[in-house]
Symmetry: C2
């Protein structure tokens, strides 16, 4: 996707050298950060290129998965609104409007007004969407499995727990993670 800054990551010696000039630079932290972004980016691209073979993008796929997940599990659940989809897939409502536009144009989704609240719409997947997912998912799962093939089960557990620590820490640092001023002030104290 769009987030890799350096194709060839800097060697560790270069980080050590740069750390002499910048006391704030933590070489091992920087190294983890760069490897995290690179691994995430490459894993993302593997899946993305597969979805592209079915003429679908990650954003649209996420919407279809959210809709599909809502329609499974026996119980009858109310259809989802654009706002709910935006929240579950992690994009803004404005972005969701665009995604639903293209999905609707391609016949994968239908918009219908919500009978109870006239501000709201409901979004429902069409049969073609279900058929498309049925075609895509096996290969999608195979690729995720193939990506993790080099890792043993215990390595996977370790990796998940370490990634969770980073994600939790990011939540406390990020503006969306609430905390607002406190972490910024602390981090920027020396800036």
């Amino acid at each position: 996707m769009p987030l890799l800054m350096l194709k060839d990551l800097p060697r560790y010696e270069c980080l050590l050298e740069a750390a002499r000039e910048f006391p704030d630079l933590d070489p091992s932290a920087t190294e983890v950060f760069l490897h995290l972004l690179r691994a995430g980016d490459e894993a993302f691209r593997v899946v993305e290129s597969h979805l592209a073979q079915h003429d679908i993008t990650q954003g649209r796929f996420g919407v279809l998965m959210a809709l599909w997940g809502n329609d499974r599990g026996g119980e009858v659940r109310p259809p989802l609104s654009p706002a709910t989809l935006a929240e579950r897939t992690g994009v803004t409502r404005a972005t969701m409007t665009g995604l639903i536009d293209t999905l609707e144009r391609d016949g994968l989704v239908r918009r219908e007004p919500d009978p109870a609240d006239r501000r709201m719409m409901t979004v429902k997947p069409t049969r073609q969407a279900v058929a498309l997912l049925t075609r895509i998912l096996p290969g999608h799962f195979q690729r995720m499995a193939a990506l993790m093939l080099p890792l043993t089960e215990s390595e996977r557990e370790v990796l998940v727990s370490l990634l969770q620590k980073i994600a939790n820490q990011a939540s406390t640092l990020s503006p969306t993670g609430d905390g607002s001023a406190a972490p910024t002030a602390e981090v920027a104290a020396r800036g």
Copy 2:
């Protein structure tokens, strides 16, 4: 950034349940995949929001870092071309054209024709770019360090090695990783 598909990751029991329906679904692999993308995305956003405070984006920051890195280390190195910058930052040449456009508009880089090869341009950072980086970098390093604070040094080493395994595996699976047909055939064998 744009790569998270599910804000709240599915619980492991749901993955186990879904695996009964989809024999290709490897629950632990899927879990690692989702955590990897989420952690990468959140870490990315932490840094991105800091850069945004200085009116700069990740893509532009990457270009400036590449230019800055080229001008350091004593030796006189020839200025970089857009094609080289594209390769080092991992985007296409077309994308680099756009990035350089906005950087030039904002007075952070200058384009000059290459005297030796009239197809080529050279891209040089301005003084303002150096000043901007000097302002940004301390906070940038602080944020990377803060993100990794919950990890011990040995955990960082383990994490890097596990991430490397995934990145290597992605290279063998992805179309850019050469291999072209072979991995696809293997992965799709059961599809």
